[in-house]
Each structure stands twice: as structure tokens, then as C-alpha cells.
Amino acid sequence: MPVVSITNLKKRFKDQEVIKGLDFQLSEGKCIALLGANGAGKTTTLKMLAGLVKPDSGTIVYEGGEKADFRRLIGYLPQFPVFYDWMTGKEFLEYAGQLAGLPKAEAKDRAAELLELTGISEAKNRRIGKFSGGMKQRLGIAQAIIHRPKLVMLDEPVSALDPFGRREVLELLGRLKKETAILFSTHILNDAEEICDEILFLHGGELIESGTLADLRTRHQQAKIDLVFKVNTAEYAEEISLLPPVSSMELKGDSASFLVEDIEDARNLFLTEIAKRKWPLLKFEISRTSLEDVFMKVVKK
């Protein structure tokens, strides 16, 4: 049974249709990335899932049905989390824990545990108003998971952080994965690849691709051969591109990349041709297109 099922979700702000009909399900214990460029509708989708924005049409059904208060099941971190500046980090976590239904003593223990886990326990007695951006982000994650929700939604948890903080938060998410399902939005594919099992790719308010990383790779990745010649790479590349296994050719500075249908055929053919004509080959490399290339292609379509 999925934690949440979304059917035909739509949202319009004034004259702009931001979400044009989303359908997907999130199941327990998975880490899913909501990937998309700025303005793709990631934040709006998460806000609707958290109940902060009401959809125009479509349904969001959490496990337990529409009657139950789904807020027990979820934890949510907005893109720019704001806290009560006059509280200390520890006070805020205990407050959040108690609001989520933990008894006072348990909220205290859990707050201490999470301050430790997120690495801000040194600052626990400092007013949140004096926290740095990275510390606030971590406090935000801590408050989102304090009641052990089944699904944690994080809106761009690493985008505002420096490389160091980003590393730490990603590692933290990697550890959290064992405890709860995570749905997090990002515009950076690398982050998604690093910790997620599945990707929902959002573009212009529509889900244009989704699945596990392995699936996406086999579905979209193509074999690629890169060649570099001592001189006149462009000239030689032109001739090679006429060979049958080549589906497309691209020149990048001194090197030429060829997308090919069958890697075995192509390798043999390329090498025999080059050897026969005695071309001054410097580099021969077989690789695959990255998911980044794939998504760039999809977005440009």
C-alpha cells in the first residue's frame, strides 16, 4: 500500500497553469527525488502534498484514507524554513515534537537525539535568530522527522548550502533513508543520483519521466565513442560519421563524439577503418551518455 497516491493533480495561479495533471504514488521506505528546473512546479507539488496549498482538481490520498489527519504521516521542510527566532534550537524541536503528539519526556529525548544526528547540538541553547543558514536547514530537517513520519518531504534541502554543508546534508539524508520514505526536490541531478532510488522528473508542470535510476539508464542511455586525432579531427570525424552504426556525431573542440547503435559493431568497424586508412588516432574511448545529457535532451524537446 502506497503512503500516498496522487491522481490528476492540477493547480493554476491566476492565468498560469503551474501543475498540469500529475499522477504518481510514493511507497514506504523509498527515497525519491523530484527533479526539475526552476519553475517546473516542484515547490507547488510539495506544498500541495503537505496540505499548504489546495489543488484545483485531482486527489491526494494518504494511507488511512481521506478522513484521517494525514499530517501525522508526513514531515515537511519548506524551501526557506522560518522559525521562531526567539526560541532556542532545543526549545523549537521540543515544541515541534509535542505538537506532533509526542509526550513531553519523549519529545525531549528525541530532540536531543536529533540535535546530535544533525550536528547542531553545540548550538542547541542558542537563539535560532543567531543560527547560520546551514544550521537552520539542519534544524528544519530535524523538526521534519521528529515524530518519525512515514514520508518526509524536503523542498530543495541542499540548494542554499555551500559545498561543505551540502555534503553533510546529503549524507544525513542517506542515513535517514533507512528510517523513512524521503521525497526531496532538487534541480541538481547529481544530488538525486547520489542518494535516491527513484526519480520523478518534472518539467513545465508535467511528469515527463519517472522510474528507478537503473531503469532510466537502460531506457535512455546510449553507447558513445569518443575519438581524438593528432590533426584535422573534424575532417576525419566527418568521414567516420558516414559509417552505418553511427546515429549522430558531435564535435567538441579537439574530440568527436559518436552515438552508436551497437557498440561491438561500431568498435570493430571504427578501428579497422582507421587502421586501413592510417589515420593518426590519439584517443579511442567507449563511454555512455550521462543522465544529465538525457535530461537536457528531454527538456529541450
Partner: protein, 258 residues
Amino acid sequence: MKQWVTLLKKEMLELARNFKWIWVPLTFILITVKEPLTLYYLPQIIDSLGGLPEGAVIELPVPSAGEALAASLSQLNTIGVLIIVLIAMGSIAGERKSGVAGLILVKPVSYAGFVTAKWTSLMMLIWLSYFLGYFLSWYYVGILFEFIPFVDFLQSFFVYGIWLTLIITIVILFNTFIKSPGAVGFFTIGIIVLLTLLSTSLSHLMEWSPALLSAYTNTFIIGGNFPDELLPSIIVSVIAITISMIASIAIFKRRELA
């Protein structure tokens, strides 16, 4: 219930951290106590400022104790009301504007609890400040003029308090559907001014108006008797408070928070 206590404790702590428990009572005391003092010492004040020219005879009527206390009440009705609105106008709107309300309300928090905890904390702060100010004013009136029976003080205290409660509730109501604290303040003040103007200029048509509670309390302090229109006015006020409260919760539940 447990959650409601948590919410209320947070509000209380916030009022403490902002020192509102100190400066709000102090302000209320200043504006109320100043009235009997200036009324009593007016002749001396005029003297010390150079006095009156030789031969000028001006009879300064000595105000009665009731008039002195009523003067404090009229201060509460202007500056006091303004302070209440200023304190309360951001209580929910401010949290929604900053975004922290979104963070809190994705937790399984009762909307009714959230609104009523805010209301309760404001009520406690305002009633405490109002009591201290009005009580000290009554005390100074007693020392400088003559003591008004304590029962009369209590009666006027509770009757006028209903009007202040209605104001607090209206500010909360506006808070639930206006996102900007400034606009909340503007509309609340607007409504109070409008209601007061209408009620006083059309007093024969609007005897039941809650805005006349201050006038009725005045009559009572000075003359010793509440007019007959007091009861309808109280009933209408209580109904208005209840409806505003229910409307606040209903509206707040339906609002998008982000």
C-alpha cells in the same frame, strides 16, 4: 487538550521573551493613573508653570471621584484600545507572513487550538494589564478624592472588559484572513471607529451596540446607575464575541497557509 497547553505555553513564553508582560502592564498603568493625578494636582501644576495673573479668579471645579475614574476609563478607550490592536495585529498574520505558521501547521495541530491559544494568551495579557491599570487608578482616586465602593469598581471593570474582549476577538478574526499585520490593524481600528461613531451619533437606534459599553460604564461610575440598555448591549457583545471566534476558526481552517 495537552496540545492546547503546549500551544498556550509557547505564547506565554513568547510574551515573556518580548518583555510584553512588563511593558504592556506598565503602559496601561501610566495612561490610567496619570488621570487622577493630573486632575488632583492641576492647580499646583498651573501655579508652578507661572500661575495666573494677579487678580484673575478662575474657579477650577474640583472633580468628583467618579469623574476622575471615568477619565482613566476614557484613556483606556483611546490609547488602551490602540495598544491592544498594535499588540494583537500580528499575532497570526505575522506568523503566516514569515512562513513559520506553515511549518507549524503541517504538524497535526488543531486549527481551533492554534487560534484559541493565541486568543487566550492575549486575553490574559490584556486583562492583567487592564486590571492593574484600572485598579491603581481606582486606588489613587480613593487616596486623592474619595474611595468609590470596591463592588462598583469591580462591576465597571467587568462591564468595560467585555468591550476590550470584543476588540481582541475582532483583531484575531481579521488575523485569520488578512496576511499583513498592518492591514489587520488598519481594518480593526477602522471598524472600532466606525462602530463608535455610528453608535454615539445614532444612540437612540443602536442602544444595544457594544461600542456604547464604555459610555454606560461612564454613566455608572459618575451617576451610580447603569442605564437599562446595558443588558442588550452585553448580550449583543457576547454573541458578537462568540460568532467572531467561531468564524475565526472556520476561516483559518480553509485558508491556504503558503
